[in-house]
Amino acid sequence: MAAAKTHDEGAPESGLDTAREAPDASIPAVIGAKAIELVVMGLEIAAVFIRTLYYCVRGRPDLGAVVRQMFEIGNRSVVFLTVVMGFIGMILVLQGGLQVKRILPEFSMVGASYLELLIRDLAATISALMLATRVGAGIAAEIGSMVVTEQVDALRMCAADPIDYLIKPRFLASLVMTLVLVIWAAGVAMLTGMLTAYVMFDVNPRTFFNLNLVDTGDLIVGLAKCLAYGAAVPVVAGHSGLHTHGGSEGVGWATTRAVVNASLAVIVLDLILSALGYVFFGP
């Protein structure tokens, strides 16, 4: 996890934070403390992830909770994602077209390259960044306020693991809904991109919908990204939510931390998966 900054504003009451604000903390000491924090947080997130996977197999089956979370994560994000991806489609084709105009006389390749880029990277990554903002903030705020009002402690008292009860349904719902939402978002972005190309550059929709450049590798990388982001966002946000402290103000910090960490997780996973895709499937 490249979330170097997580704690800089988060929890003012953590021990490392006071160390950082000590007047004579030298720069290596600060960097060292940050590095240790980072490793600790990475391990904690990994632990949450592994326990989530364990409970997916061995936990108590609760289809109702998963379906409710699917509604929360999926249906309530549709409008937001449609607006964002619609505009992204228009922006990309507009900017791309204007640049291509400078070096190429014709636009037949714009559509093909745009579709390839969209399927391999942008549909999944931009949607996931938006979901990290919307879903991540929601998960962290919800779990965080449960922690602050001691409902999570109450769960533990009942011998129920909060990861089984709270994070697992969100994890499963997010895995499914991210995939569905990304496919929908890609469709929206293709449509608005096609309309922009038609209106601004007079590209025939038939020329635009040229899937020649899209191969199996692109599709596999795109779908792998959907799954990776769908798994990462609830785990990272749930971790922030479960580590809320400091009353109602702490919920605000936890939400911020969840959004930043989940977005960074998406960017880091994007780089890793894009590089792997490049290595395995070639350019």
């Binding site: 800089d8 504003e9 607006v83 505009f87 507009l94 959004v259």
Partner: protein
Amino acid sequence: MAAKKPPSAASTPPPDVGLLEEIGGGFMSAAATVGGMGLLGYQIVRRLVTLRFDRQETLRNLYRMGVKSIPIVIVTALFTGAIMVIQAAPLVVRLGAQGLLGWGAGFGILREIAPLLTALMINGRVGANNTAELGTMVVTEQIDALRVLAIDPIAFLIAPRFVAMVTTLFLSTIFADTLALLGAAYGGLGLLGVEPKTFYNGLTSGLLGLSDVTSGLVKSIVFGVVIALSSCQYGLGVKGGAPGVGRAVNATVVASAAGIFVLDYFVSFTLD
């Protein structure tokens, strides 16, 4: 689940709202928010023009928003630079145009990706933070206390944040432009074997002009205004105690992210 609903009229639905009422309510609350942001913007500008805002508070906010966001800006920019190269790689390899890599990655980074991703990250970090802070102040009646002491909350709390946020985003975007190009140059070396020198030549060969840089920077200012206005508006409008703060934080990151993308299109469209 209540924490996820937008703080609109729809959050306490009467028993049998039809779809039409719900859509209408959504539009009404959106209009109220946008109108409130406009009013808030007007009030801020009035304070700024007459120089009635707290300088000390501005500097403090610049430190908290700007200096402390540097790590995320660095990480995001370096990673995105490298991602841009990977995404541009197939075109470069297919056309055998190593010299165009600098142009391809450069225009993407300078015009779109660096301003957009910096704005999204700062929105998550600073915007959400700002709403949480102002919201807590509203809930604990600290803002009313300021008014009782005859201190203008807009001049003391809001205008400094506005200035600090716009400045932060502008400077971070310049910073992110540079770092993303660096990430792209060395990503190109590691992945495609394109020398950084070739990359910089492609960048400066005349296909990219100053207008590409300024277009990105104009966007960053617009995004800064959007994030500042929406986070302050949602923060000041918090109702319903502590859970209300969580709802407001949630609503503000979503609203600013949508606003950023919508305005991105219109700014790109206007500038070309």
